[in-house]
């Protein structure tokens, strides 16, 4: 049972335009959401996060929106640049009991930004 879903395996956009990556989740206990970017042959790099008490978080060109009622979040990249071409993973965490938390990842979306 996939609790975090990224339904678009790939997305292609033109340089300078907006990229919108989507993520849906099913577990209502998730209270923290993160986006990671991954280049080939490298580990995922933390990009931006949002707590469930907020509906928007912005960091430079990157903005994450959270719609709790729809169990949906999205990552907006404006303007998109060729260097943004990578796989983007959505992840979510819920309090896992004890002194730990665990991340559940989506399958990723490959973003290609064309010059």
């Amino acid at each position: 049972d996939q609790q975090v879903k990224q339904n678009s395996p790939s997305l292609s956009v033109q340089e300078g335009r907006i990229s919108i990556l989507n993520c849906d989740y099913t577990n209502s206990m998730f209270d923290y959401f993160l986006w990671y970017k991954k280049y080939p042959a490298e580990g995922p790099t933390f990009l931006i996060s949002i707590s469930s008490i907020k509906d928007k978080n912005e960091d430079g060109r990157f903005t994450v929106f959270l719609n709790k009622s729809a169990k949906h979040l999205s990552l907006h990249i404006v303007p998109s640049q060729p260097g943004d071409s990578a796989v983007y993973f959505c992840a979510a965490s819920a309090w896992g009991g004890g002194s730990n938390y665990k991340l559940t990842f989506g399958k990723g979306t490959l973003l290609t930004v064309n010059p």
Binding site: A41, S49, N100, F105, K107, G108
Partner: protein, 115 residues
């Protein structure tokens, strides 16, 4: 960049042999994690540690064991490797005070092929 070193970076071995992957951190973070990444699955948690000698299972722990004898090192062992364990393995660390606002930071991965 978070000080995380995974070794080896690449390994080819035969079915039935034992394999140990090492994750070394210089950040003195309490929490360490092992994930595997496979096509169509995103990243899946194998085991994690919330302190020296404190470990617990993730969602795909069968066939794997871990050990953490000191803060900086987290070892993942495949006691008898199988072809289904061919994958890219990522180590991650986090400060993790127990709240849910501590992102995990990843190493660059170990590509393991089991023939």
């Amino acid at each position: 960049d978070a000080g995380i070193t995974q070794s080896p970076r690449h390994k080819v071995t035969e079915t039935g042999t034992p394999v140990t992957l090492r994750c070394h951190q210089t950040e003195n973070h309490r929490y360490m994690y092992w994930y595997r990444q496979d096509p169509g699955h995103g990243l899946r948690l194998i085991h994690y540690s919330y302190g020296v000698k404190d470990t617990d299972k993730g969602e795909v722990s069968d066939g794997y064991s871990v050990s953490r004898s000191k803060t900086e090192d987290f070892l993942l062992t495949l006691e008898s490797a199988t072809s289904s364990q061919t994958s890219v393995y990522f180590c991650a660390i986090s400060e993790g005070t127990g709240s849910s606002n501590q992102p995990q930071h990843f190493g660059d991965g170990t590509r393991l092929s089991i023939l």
